[in-house]
Symmetry: C2
Subunit: 150 residues, 2 copies
């Protein structure tokens, strides 16, 4: 396989990102890959926020993975900055290739570079394979994640 | 009891916020109420970020509660914006008074005002009372929260 590059997402990557978001047991019900309008609006907002880092993994010319890393300053833990990972997706043809590990390792390195003391994420309780994956990478399943739809 | 006001935290509120962060079974080991330097630096960063909302609840002249609400745009769920609650603390003398409910209701209202579609938080697995509290407010414990210290 050709070399992998992890780089900031551009607006031209959006169709590929949205296709990956939708190609997922949970995402299939939530996404609209045939209408990019809401994604383009969200991308513009993300691109203007220095604490937001949406990246893609590219192999050759193919977009094969994505995640969003958010930097969050805070008062607790002696004014610690934390980072949060959302929207991790790996292209179906790349699953099991180690790409997920590469993406999370990128997030760990970038979080350290930004002086974060803590990296966190939540994973749907049904995604048990993902839970084992994060535990193998050193994450601790120490918290319960609560969500409220508004 | 006198009326309650929920308002943005000022730098003068920091000693009271840090005292509440430290007066907690988990926070006692993590905070340094005798040295406000790291909190002041974090406050300056928070105050400059339009997506960060650190608020205090004030009764009369006493700071009796705090939380941090972060607004996070994103691509997933058709470009949904979500909000995250961190650093919820209620003064020891106010626990059981309904103040926690008032603070979370403030966060729900503010998140709606900012067009968030989802409000989320994680709670340490040991805080079982807090879990019942969030479920009573309509949150669903649908996720596992993973953390990695950096």
């Amino acid at each position: 396989m050709s070399d992998l590059e992890i780089r900031p997402a551009t607006v031209d990557d959006l169709p590929h990102i949205v296709a990956m978001l939708a190609d997922d047991p949970l995402g299939a019900q939530r996404e609209s890959p045939d209408d990019l309008t809401p994604y383009t609006a969200a991308y513009e907002r993300l691109a203007q926020d220095p604490n937001q880092h949406v990246v893609v993994a590219v192999r050759g010319t193919a977009v094969v993975g994505t995640l969003q890393l958010t930097i969050i300053p805070g008062l607790s833990r002696r004014g610690s900055t934390r980072s949060i990972i959302e929207g991790v997706r790996i292209h179906a043809e790349e699953r099991g290739s180690g790409l997920g590990t590469r993406l999370i390792e990128w997030a760990i390195e970038e979080s350290r570079r930004q002086n974060c003391q803590l990296l966190q994420l939540t994973s749907d309780a049904t995604r048990t394979d993902a839970h084992r994956f994060y535990e193998r990478l050193g994450f601790e399943a120490s918290h319960v994640g609560f969500k409220l739809s508004l």
